[in-house]
Every structure is written in C-alpha cells, then in structure tokens.
C-alpha cells in the first residue's frame, strides 16, 4: 500500500514537472496543480499510513491511547491547510492566465518575453 502511494506521488511529480515545462501557459497551470497535489500526498505519506485508526482520542479515555495505536493528526491538519492554500492560489493563477492570454493574444509562453532583458 505504501509503495503504491509512493509510486503515485512520483508519478504526480513527474507529470507536474513535465507540464510546467510545456510551452502553453495553460499547461503550466495544470502542472502547478499536479505539483501541489503531489506535495500534499507527500506530507500525508510522510506522516505514516494507518488504516482505520482514530486521529483524535477523547480526553480521560481509558487507556489513554487505543491499544491498536492512533493515526497522526498533524499531517492531516497540514494537508488540509495546504489544500486550502493551493486551491486559492490556483484559482488566482487560472484567472491570471486567462488575463495574460487576453492581453498578449497568445498562450505561448515563449512569446511573452517583452519584460525579459
């Protein structure tokens, strides 16, 4: 199971990087989305995988930690925060790309060089 997750993360990073290097800026946005998702899954995997274990235990429970163990809640919180942030940034990036294409008349990143030296 863990290996499958690692393969998926690697695949997402690969696809994301390939798309980011593409010529069209629309593919760039897709690539950034994939990279963000890959990072989220990476955090999730780095926290350790647990199947069906509670992440939050009520105070005063006896025994304090369930005998089968518990899932680590911190990576889950980190992933939630990261998902929200990347969602907001991605929506901004999508609007920005549509504006850039409208203003420059092309979606070819190689032609948007007027500010380069």
């Amino acid at each position: 199971m863990f290996i499958a997750l690692v393969v998926v993360i690697a695949g997402l990073y690969t696809a994301g990087l390939y798309l980011v290097l593409a010529r069209s800026v629309v593919r760039l946005i897709f690539g950034l989305a994939l990279l963000g998702n890959a990072a989220n899954l990476l955090i999730f995997a780095a926290g350790g995988l647990a199947r069906g274990l509670p992440a939050i235990v009520p105070p005063g429970a006896d025994p304090p930690v369930p005998p089968s163990g518990h899932a680590d809640p911190v990576p889950q919180a980190l992933v939630l925060t990261a998902i929200v942030i990347s969602f907001a940034l991605l929506s901004f990036a999508a609007v920005m790309v549509s504006r850039v294409c409208a203003v420059t008349g092309t979606d070819d990143g190689d032609r948007m060089m007027s500010t380069e030296t």
């Binding site: 980011v20 800026v25 760039l28 950034l32 990279l35 963000g36 890959a38 990072a39 989220n40 990476l42 955090i43 999730f44 995997a45 780095a46 926290g47 350790g48 911190v74 990576p75 980190l78 925060t81 990261a82 942030i85 907001a88 940034l89 901004f92 990036a93 920005m96 790309v97 504006r99 850039v100 203003v103 420059t104 990143g109 948007m112 060089m113 007027s114 500010t115 380069e116 030296t117």
Partner: protein, 526 residues
Amino acid sequence: MLIVLPIVIPLVAAAASLTLSRAPRWQRRAGVAGAAALTVAAVALFARVETAGIQATQMGGWPAPFGITLVADLFSALMVLLTAVIGLAVAVYSLADLDEPRVRFGYYPLLHVLLMGVCGAFLTGDLFNLYVWFEVMLTASFVLLALGGGQAQMEGAIKYVTLNLLSSALFLAAAGLIYGTANTLNLADLSLRLAEVQRDHPNLVAALALLLAVAFGIKAGLFPLFFWLPASYHTPPPAVSAVFAGLLTKVGVYALIRVFTLVFPAGGFVHVLLLVLAGLTMLTGVLGAVAQFDMRRILSFHIISQIGYMVLGLGLLACGDETVRRLALAAAVFYIAHHILVKTNLFLISGVVEALRGTGQLRRLGGLSASAWWLAALFAIPAFSLAGIPPLSGFWAKLAVLKAGFLAGRYELVGVALAAGLFTLLSMMKIWNEVFWKTPPNHAGEPPTHAASDRERRPRTARWVPILGLAALTVAIGLWPQPLLRLSDRAAAQLLDPVAYRQAVHLQESLATVVSAPAVAEESAP
C-alpha cells in the same frame, strides 16, 4: 501580547481600509494610519526585546512544541522594525503615486496584508506556520503585481507567480518530510531532533537541508534561481516595486539565516554550497545590471547582487572559528538592515524620476539636475551607499562582510565581492550621469498626462517625505554605525546560541518521541 501586535495591526488596517473602499480618501488615510500604528508597535516590541531578551508566546495556550510559538529575538525584532519603517514610507509615498483605480481596487488592504505576512514570517517559531505566512505574503504580492493589468505587468506576473508557486511546493514538501523525520515542526524543537537524526541518517538531513535551501533560495534570489526577479520587479508602479524590493527577498534571506543557524547545524556542506552560490550571485547580478538601460531594471539586478553579500555572511559559518562566525553573521544582519533602507529609497526615487519625465529609460532621460537638483542630491545618498562609499551605511556593511571573509581565509570571495562593488559603482554612475547630468536628447521624455484635477488633488510632498526620511537614516547609520553594529553583533550572538532560544520557548517533552539523555541534561543545566 506585544509580540502579536505586528500581526494584528496590519490585519485590522487591511480590514478597515477594505470596508472604506467606497471612499478612497478615507481609505488612503486608514492605510497610512495603520502603517504608523505598526511602526509604533514595532518600536515597542524592539525596545522590549532589547532590554528583556528573547520574547516568546504560545498561540492558543498550547505549550511548545505542540502549539505554534511566536518568537522575537533581536534579529526578528529588528526585521519587524525595518518592515514597519518601509511600510510607512511606502504608504506615505503611495498617497502621491497610486492612481485612483488601483486604490479603489484595494491597494491599501493588499499592502497591509503583505506587511502582515512579512511580520508573521519574521515572528513565527514554527516551520509550517512560516509556510503559511509566506503564502499570505505571496498572495498579496501576486495581486499587487498584477493590479492594473497592463501587458508588461501580466507577463512579469506569469513568471513571478510560477516560480514562487514552485518554491512554495518545494517548501511544503520539505516541511512534510521534516515532520516525518523529526515528528515536530517547532523550530526550537527541530534544533534538538534533527541533530539526533543526523547522527543516524546524515544524508537524509542533508537532502532536507538542500530542499529548504532551494525553496528559500528561489524566494531570496540566489543564483541560479533568481531569473524571475528582473523579469517582474520593474513592471508594477514604483511604490509597489519599492515594497517588493525592500522586503520580499529579505524574507527569503531571513528564512535562510534562521533555518541554517537554528535548525541545521552550521558547518555542513550546505553552508559551503551557499558560499559558492553567494559568489556567483554577486557576480551575475552586477553583470546583468551592466547591460540594462532602464532605471528600475538596473536596480532589480542590483538587488540580486546585494543578496549575494548577505548570503556570503551566512555561508561563512562554514569556517570553524567562533569569532569569525559571529562577525560574519553580524555583517549579514547589518547588511540586510542597510540594504532594505537603501534599496527602497532608490526605487522611490526612480518613481519620482518617472513622474517628472514619464519614463525610466536612460536613453530618453537627461538634465534632471538642472530642474531638480535636490533630487540629484537625494539620489546620490542611497546610490553611493549601495556602492559602498564612505561615510554612508554601505561602506560599513561591505567592510564588515569583507573583513569576515578575510579572517575566514576566503580570499577568492573577497575578490569577487570587491569586483561586484566596483561594478555596482559603475551602474550607479551610469544612472547618475544619464539621468541627471547629460544633456537631454531631442526626444526627451515629457511628464505623463494625467487629468489636471487628479494631479492637483494628490499631494506632492508625499513623495519627498519618505525619500528624505530614508536618506536621513542612511546618513545617520553611516556617520554613527556603532549602535547598529553592536546590535547586529548581539543579534548574531543570539542566532549562534540555540540554547537561549529553546529556553525562551519553554520546550516541553513531547509524548510521542524519546528525548535523548544529553539533550535533557543540556536543557536542565542552568
């Protein structure tokens, strides 16, 4: 309580100026008032940290390392103070510079959200919280850069947004992996845990350090990760360029310094890598500037080369001697302080030039000293300070960095730094001559045509006050460098001593991890 103010005040100011968006005049006043309040709070925090030592607060009452800690040591407090000063300068300058549509679309709320993100990044003691504050700052900067929607702005924005989102993705991955390795995200706790992990898995820790170095290097503008900067910094209005130039890259440098003194033990190979990159950064920055003929593009390239000096101070931690390392860090801190003031001032002055002549292209400018000799004098102060001419602040900053390099035995880097200084002087002389002293060409730039009523309504003095203030600070630091030098030295001593940091944070033993015996003995020793 005092430590939370630099985050809460800009938030309140942003909210207030957002609700006033129907009345731009009140929006402007709310913006400036918020920046003034932030300055007062920053001065109070700095005074407290200077007298009482490192301050720390746990958010939500959760003890460290379970909750998020806000920590203010001398370095953080100094950076917050500089942020507040720059925020005030830019807010006042924007009274004259920003046109009505931009103000109505939320320039002042965005500026304050940016200031909040920057102050939060300086004050946090938690790695993931640092990521969150980076994102707050970045989002505000994305919108500020794109506000206005012209072609140059949008093209610059694409590059800026892409590379900074990449940097965020790398930072996020690093934070997740660090949590998986060390089971904590609190910077103070990490300084203990990663040292243990490094004994067993040195390569893993080196990989994490590299990942963070790349992520912060993109933000800071290190070679070869800086190419988004000259493509984007010169496109927005001058006030926005000024706040970007003064603050955003310095947050990257701050993060590098914080992480590579506190979390990762100094002297690893990443510090040597930072040394090499610093040298290359200094060189490529000035060489890029030599080819430019637009004021703000030249200044953008100079940001890059000056970042090289600061990272040089950080990289010299790789050299073993205790006094040399303290001097190198103190030099880096002093350089950051000097550079923030000088660079913002230079961008504000370029804004005045563009307002007077309608262009920043050197080939179409000339003869400004005849009509505005005081502008020439005000330009000379930060320009020569950047080049390192005494008795201005840049001289002491460069001297400190070069002395640290000499004492560490890194003569090749000292040579590179001196060569970069020479080219910086060349660039400043180029701007100086082309803008102020040469006879203007036949098709010289004309003042831009705004509606006459709009121009009359906007106060002209709002442009001069911040430029004068920042120039006065530069001259003051140049003539009396001792207070800032002593402060930088104390900040460097604090940075090199993680035990005091951990004690201020009141680290508690966490349930899930085993604390090794030597670490416990170190904590309980008086």
